[in-house]
């Protein structure tokens, strides 16, 4: 696996079927984070993964991590000990809007069949809601999550580019408010 050398241009450069909202940093709490699903039919729903100890809408922080400068070394040592005892579950979530259910379903079928390539420590959730493809990867290991996220985005990028190439109407609907 390697990090893709390009972001998912397939959907991003698709001139307005809907922007693909890439994660801001790749691994973050779904609740309130960029790229998380929202609105009716949100697949995240109750029981969606959150970092322990955080509230909805709040950026996750490692338990015990301090943002205040000048904290004591004893506090840091204590914080490290506490952090190592309770591992935070990290998450990458992305909603990809397609023009229609069939396109979303095609991408879903492909990514689902590729799920075997993910490390067993990665929990993969894929779902089609309407014409949106909802993707969520969770893991405790940030490195594994990063690799898996890069791999998935690479796969998705190729799928979308292929669809763009052979389905001319794909993603060509202009964005509202942009002279379309």
């Amino acid at each position: 696996m390697e990090a893709p050398d390009d972001h998912v241009d397939g959907a991003d450069g698709t001139d307005g079927a809907g922007a693909m909202r890439a994660p801001d940093d790749g691994a973050h709490d779904a609740a309130g984070g960029a790229g998380s699903p929202s609105g009716p039919g949100e697949p995240g729903g109750p029981g969606g993964t959150e970092a322990p100890g955080t509230e909805a809408g709040e950026a996750p922080q490692l338990k015990g991590a301090s943002s205040a400068p000048g904290h004591s070394e004893e506090d840091s040592a204590l914080a490290s000990g506490e952090a190592s005892e309770k591992k935070q579950v990290l998450e990458f979530a992305l909603t990809v809007p397609f023009l229609c259910y069939m396109d979303a379903e095609l991408a879903y079928q492909y990514l689902t069949s590729s799920a075997e390539f993910y490390h067993e420590a990665i929990h993969t959730e894929l779902r089609v809601v309407g014409s949106d493809l909802f993707i969520r990867l969770t893991a405790e290991d940030p490195v594994l999550l990063q690799i898996s996220t890069a791999y998935l985005l690479n796969q998705l990028s190729i799928v979308v580019q292929t669809m763009q190439h052979f389905v001319p109407g794909c993603f060509s609907r202009p964005r509202p408010g942009k002279g379309g």
Binding site: M1, S113, S114, E116, Q155, I158, Q161, T162, M163
Partner: protein, 351 residues
């Protein structure tokens, strides 16, 4: 009259081919060429394939005069036999079926299969070579010498399997040649093996090199290590020229291949030999094999660079055979593998 679209991209060549009823309708190909002294890495190779594959697909359809509706089946390289070797370069797996390039091609094949609602077929790369060789040459039941950058095997058909009679126990013969080319900084354009062949024609002195045949198997890592060690010294002292080294390496490794092929032919009582794989383009290898076949009263078959070197049409041809005999690959099984042995496939299309 089914028409099959085939995708191949397991190494540094990417090809898309169209075959219908034994006729190759299109077979465009691109090669990822690296600077002299270097090899190709999985990530860079995958990026190359991604950049060209969709245009290549369109080119194949245009050349064949077909549209997506005319295609009956999509075939792609699922994997490749042979051995993987780790080179001391991060991410540098040498040998068959590099994962990233295989995946980048498989993604497109699977996506168009779904887009166009066509059945999908996962093909073994080696069987692609064999079936294309049989189609082009007309060989009926040959002993096959499969030689490329990633594979070296002697194969014969028996009871619905392509059985491996002998193979390399370490690196492929093409890998040996390619890595030797890096030592001498021989150009990779169009391929290191081709350039070694041209230089070998001008060689005059045979340098004694380790000759390693172990029963039905061969070993090339020793000869490679040896020549990597002595090459610079011998060239510096004027003991030999680069052309002499190319000549000596070819003569030695090809003689090893001829020996194990002859042994397999004797075992099988075969009167036909077929060379497939990129190294099979080498005219000196064909010449040595021809000599052996003549001595045995057998016939030698070989193809040219269009079909010896990895190409999409060979995958399409194997897919065509599989499609007609009822094979289908469900999406859930349509991944790739870097360890896909030739004898894992049940050859239901032959008696």
């Amino acid at each position: 009259m089914p028409a099959v679209l085939g995708f191949e991209g397991s190494a540094n060549k990417i090809g898309v081919g169209v075959v219908r009823d034994g006729t190759v309708l299109a077979n465009p190909r691109r090669t990822y060429v690296t600077p002299p002294g270097t090899g190709f890495l999985p990530g860079d190779t995958a990026r190359h394939h991604r950049a060209v594959i969709l245009d290549l697909l369109q080119e194949a359809l245009t050349e064949a005069g077909l549209t997506s509706q005319d295609i009956d089946c999509i075939a792609y390289t699922k994997g490749i036999a042979g051995k993987l070797h780790w080179k001391n370069i991060p991410g540098a797996w040498l040998g068959p079926g590099m994962g990233a390039p295989l995946v980048s091609v498989a993604v497109v094949a699977r996506t168009v299969a779904q887009l166009w609602n066509k059945p999908l077929l996962a093909v073994n790369h080696c069987i692609g070579h064999i079936e294309m060789g049989r189609l082009i040459t007309g060989a009926t039941s040959p002993t096959v010498l499969y030689v490329s950058g990633g594979n070296t095997q002697v194969i014969a058909y028996s009871e619905h399997r392509y059985r491996i009679f002998g193979e390399t126990i370490d690196i492929a013969v093409g890998n040996c040649l390619d890595r030797f080319a890096r030592v001498l900084k021989i150009s990779n354009d169009p391929s290191p093996g081709y350039n070694i062949e041209q230089m070998a024609k001008r060689g005059k002195k045979l340098v004694e090199l380790p000759y390693t045949v172990k029963g039905m198997d061969v070993s090339f890592s020793g000869i490679l290590s040896f020549i990597e060690d002595v090459a610079q010294r011998m060239l510096a002292t004027g003991e030999c020229t680069p052309e002499d080294l190319c000549f000596s390496l070819q003569e030695t490794v090809f003689a090893m291949l001829v020996e194990i092929t002859e042994r397999a032919m004797a075992h099988c009582g075969s009167q036909e030999a077929l060379i497939v794989g990129g190294v099979g383009c080498n005219l000196r290898l064909q010449e040595m094999m021809e000599t052996m076949c003549q001595e045995r009263g057998a016939r030698l078959f070989a193809t040219d660079e269009r079909f010896c070197i990895d190409n999409g049409a060979m995958i399409a041809q194997a897919g065509w055979e599989m499609f007609r005999s009822g094979h289908r690959t469900p999406l859930s099984d349509s991944g790739i593998t870097q360890r896909y042995r030739t004898d894992e496939v049940e050859v239901t299309w032959r008696d």
